[in-house]
């Protein structure tokens, strides 16, 4: 199951606004370097000297979720580099068609290509191999072994804003029962659930997270049933990892319970119960990466594969949503303290000790797991109520 499947749809108008704001910032500090790299020797650095930048998306640009966010990011790049043409292609399948779309973008002058779906990895690698003068950046994957000098992968630490939201949930709950509706037990989802519980437990040791999966990225009827089940159990804060989010939020709001959002700022769906959430904002990272490439410094840079960005580095494309009316200042202070702590050199939501449901220590005290370890988590932490479905 690919990452883009995790994240389609969800109501996203506000992210566009955030991205636009980011564009204004980026435009202020972006010097126009697109023509600066052709001095000296004849072998130009890959990605420089083009007239266009290409973006391919696996879904429609108005899917209220993952693809819409990536599209908003591409428009941020367009605003930051008005001299370069930004080419976009929607609904690009994750097969050889993607290769053809990228090749045609290259013929139109693109020297930088963003392949924004997890499943675009193989076509992207193929295009990078065939076009050494083009930089191909691929969203979501980690790659092993030798990486071509003109190929990069990148993603954000999605679990960091979820951890911060967990703090808000833990301080807000009155029943100490939090609910989490998720689609499938893949590691990115398990990361989020664990981070949510760890965040809640860091401020409220009695908080527990009850999990229900729906075995579907978007089945509103199942979501309604899952939410009702949690509410009838006394859960009073509900978060989720689903593609479409409206049903869960509205059901929660109608019951007078609290909502922690995912994918987008959906506070308008829950005017009284909205606490906070996490949403996408790709503009700053895309713009920084483009600047690095145009400066001729891509090869060997941190973006030259397996780049992960988080609170430590800045530019995290997954950010915490605005607070709702139910969150008090003391709680906001706790979030700020945690943010400072995670941003520190030895900080992480998964800083040890992390104990799983069975009481086994998975991350020893004093250690910080690396991204590969975090992205392959296969257990629930202590405090999560429920079991990972067995096959």
């Amino acid at each position: 199951m690919s990452i883009r499947r995790l994240t389609r749809r969800g109501g996203l108008a506000a992210t566009t606004a955030t991205a636009l704001a980011a564009v204004l910032l980026a435009a202020g500090c972006a010097t126009n370097t697109s023509t600066a790299a052709s001095t000296g020797d004849t072998t130009e650095a890959p990605g420089t000297g083009g007239t266009a930048i290409g973006f391919i998306f696996v879904g429609p640009k108005d899917d209220y979720g993952y693809n819409q966010a990536a599209y908003a990011g591409s428009q941020a790049v367009a605003a930051a580099y008005p001299d370069l043409e930004v080419l976009t292609a929607e609904n690009v399948p994750e097969d050889d068609n993607a290769t053809r779309v990228m090749e045609s973008m290259i013929r139109k002058g693109a020297k930088i290509i963003f392949a924004t779906s997890y499943g675009h990895k193989d076509p992207a690698l193929k295009v990078a191999a065939a076009n050494p003068d083009v930089v191909v950046l691929q969203q979501g994957n980690l790659v092993d072994g030798d990486v071509p000098p003109n190929f990069g992968t990148y993603f954000g630490t999605v679990y960091e804003p979820v951890y911060l939201a967990g703090i808000v949930a833990g301080k807000t709950t009155e029943t100490n029962k939090l609910g989490y509706v998720y689609a499938f037990p893949i590691s990115q989802t398990l990361d989020n659930i664990n981070a949510f519980q760890l965040g809640a437990a860091s401020v409220n040791p009695d908080a527990q997270t009850y999990v229900v999966n729906t075995s579907s990225w978007c089945d509103p009827a199942k979501q309604a049933e899952a939410t009702s089940s949690l509410l009838s159990q006394g859960v009073d804060v509900i978060s989720q990892h689903q593609d479409c989010t409206a049903t869960i939020i509205r059901t929660t709001e109608a019951a007078g319970a609290y909502t922690v959002g995912y994918h987008a700022d959906a506070s308008e769906l829950a005017p009284t119960g909205w606490l906070t959430g996490s949403e996408w904002d790709w503009g700053p990272l895309y713009t920084t990466m483009v600047r690095t490439v145009l400066d001729g410094g891509f090869t060997g840079s941190e973006y030259n594969a397996n780049f992960r960005v988080g609170l430590k580095t800045g530019d995290n494309p997954f950010v915490q949503s605005a607070y709702g009316p139910a969150v008090d200042d003391a709680t906001k202070d706790l979030v700020e303290q945690a943010k400072t702590k995670i941003s520190a050199e030895d900080g992480s939501p998964f800083a040890g000790p992390v104990v799983d449901q069975a009481g086994e220590v998975r991350v020893p005290a004093g250690t910080i797991p690396d991204y590969q370890t975090i992205e392959s988590i296969d257990y629930f932490v202590d405090g999560v109520v429920g079991q990972i479905p067995s096959s």
Partner: protein
């Protein structure tokens, strides 16, 4: 916990029940409509869109019924008017519904509506067990309580019902009596679509309170299977729909209590129940009373066009 599951069964089974009741009428008249899923989906979108525009979920239900009926009319025209293969036509109608709703529905993803609210029935809602299970729902659920016996009465106790069943069993006889079996089948198929549309409307404007592409997720097919499971009997369809609903509600109810079961087995449960029921029904049919048997017109389904 048991009350939760049964409550969820009624709540979640209602959409399927409407579609199954409609399909019962269509199949009783001799036409099977695999496009029921499409009618549900167009009904869900039309109801959501009209509710969003007018602010009235009742107007939405009317629109949902009309949209479901219109799509079923396409099926009827192709099958009855053009003698097309009814299984293939049903699938084509389904894909038509999928395509149309994904095209016109994009604008309504994320739109908010004022949906149907639960309306606890005074006194009845306070009865322990039965109250929460049956009497704390939205009006469309109560509507289905009345509709199922009404359709039973229509089919088995009224003259129009005899005509419908006649169209499904022996069209020639109807012709001899001066009726048009084709007209009866048209009406039956369109009625089936109308009710499937109401089922879809329940999903989007009462149950899930949202519109998303392909949100019926196979419930229309479950309804068609249920009609067979219920041996074309509207009251048995009620039990079947609630059984499916309860099977779907079981998984989240167990999980919300931290109980671990094999999730994939739970996901398969509603379908396993269908298969088990069909197997039991098949065994029974060999010595079944004629009432339990499939309409004669349907057993000619291998000719794939209804007998004249």
């Amino acid at each position: 916990m048991i009350v939760d599951v049964l409550t969820g069964g009624v709540r979640g089974g209602t959409a399927i029940l409407y579609a199954a009741l409609g399909e019962t009428i269509a199949e009783r008249a001799g036409v099977i409509n695999l496009g029921t899923e499409g009618s549900m989906l167009t009904g869900a979108l039309a109801a959501y869109a009209v509710t969003a525009e007018t602010g009235s979920p009742w107007a939405g239900v009317v629109a949902g019924a009309a949209a479901g009926g219109l799509l079923a009319l396409v099926h009827a025209v192709m099958v009855l008017g053009r003698a097309a293969n009814q299984l293939a036509t049903g699938l084509v109608v389904l894909f038509l519904g999928l395509g149309l709703t994904s095209m016109f529905g994009a604008a309504y993803v994320g739109r908010a509506i004022s949906p149907f609210q639960p309306y606890p029935i005074p006194l009845l809602a306070d009865i322990p067990w039965l109250g929460p299970i049956f009497f704390q729902h939205d009006p469309l659920v109560y509507g289905s309580y009345l509709l199922a016996p009404a359709i039973w009465w229509l089919l088995y106790r009224s003259r129009p019902g005899l005509t419908i069943r006649g169209a499904g069993e022996r069209g020639e006889v109807l012709t001899a009596y001066g009726h048009s079996p084709q007209l009866v089948r048209y009406l039956a198929v369109v009625t089936g679509g109308l009710l499937a549309g109401v089922g879809g409307a329940h999903l989007s404007t009462a149950y899930a309170n949202a519109w998303f592409e392909n949100m019926t997720a196979g419930r229309g097919f479950i309804a068609v299977a249920l009609v067979i499971f219920a041996a074309w009997h509207p009251l048995r369809a009620v039990g079947g729909a609630y059984l499916f609903g309860a099977a779907l509600a079981l998984s989240p109810a167990l999980q919300a209590r931290g109980l671990g079961f094999n999730q994939f087995a739970l996901d398969a449960l509603p379908y396993l129940v269908t298969i088990a029921a069909l197997v039991l029904l098949g065994r029974r049919r060999s010595n079944a009373a004629p009432r339990r048997a499939a309409p004669e017109g349907l057993s000619r389904v291998f000719e794939l066009t209804p007998a004249k």
